[in-house]
Symmetry: C2
Subunit: 121 residues, 2 copies
DNA sequence: ATACATCGACTACAGATGTAAACGAATCGA
DNA sequence: TCGATTCGTTTACATCTGTAGTCGATGTAT
């Protein structure tokens, strides 16, 4: 659980967070245009299972894979890492950077506004 | 410049963004408790120079290193990558996660509030 | 029964990364 | 001038990551 999840692995996790349990074949089928061969997907599934990010259930001679870690927890951890590394732990500069890069839509800003209002209470 | 900067390399860049130019020795001396040997720091400097993230100026038989990339640009890029990967490109969930994890101080929230107000204009 | 399809496991391999020693050139101090 | 120090460069090596082939076991269809 302390183990990091790589970017390719993350895509696999996304599939399983969306729907689970799934067989390796189904996971591969749901990977949009990752363009990976089935063996590649299997390798990623094995690595994820080995590091405890996935749980496996035997179903005959194959496995059904399901997430064993909470997406929100991982996302929060990764966010904190980035904010720590890039902005000394302060999230405002991050938002400022996104804004400067024109990455924030009006909807994003509105969403943030609501969130901030809630946080203040 | 399209090259990514790894986490260890980032620490080296931080030193040089803070003060430059510096010799390899000075960079090593300013790396807080990274616990790296001088050869390690030199390797990181070389790799950074090779990928164009640092510029070098000859100073006798040694180099003076200085950043060749803008910190803000890199930080913005990395932020966008993370937000895309973890939150479908929407920054509000990121802030929400930080908040949920208790990572936001009152000062952070106040800072965000000011920022949002500015962004709305 | 037997060929074929399918699984997971094992193996492979190149590139990135973390970490550092070895080496040869240059320079400084005595 | 000659040894010690100090540079950058080259080489090293384990681990992680991306990507995939091979293989033995098992299940399925004929």
């Amino acid at each position: 659980m302390t183990e990091r999840i790589s970017e390719a692995e993350w895509q696999v996790m996304e599939v399983l967070w969306a729907t689970h349990p799934l067989t390796a074949h189904d996971v591969a089928a749901r990977l949009p245009d990752a363009g990976w061969s089935l063996p590649t997907v299997k390798t990623l599934l094995s690595r994820l299972a080995a590091k405890g990010a996935l749980s496996t259930t035997e179903d005959g001679r194959r496995y059904l894979y399901a997430p064993a870690v909470d997406r929100a927890a991982i996302a929060a951890g990764e966010s904190r890492r980035l904010v720590d590394r890039l902005f000394g732990g302060r999230p405002a500069p991050l938002v400022a950077h996104l804004a400067e890069a024109g990455e924030l839509s009006a909807a994003d800003i509105a969403e943030l506004e609501v969130l901030i209002r809630e946080l203040k209470q």
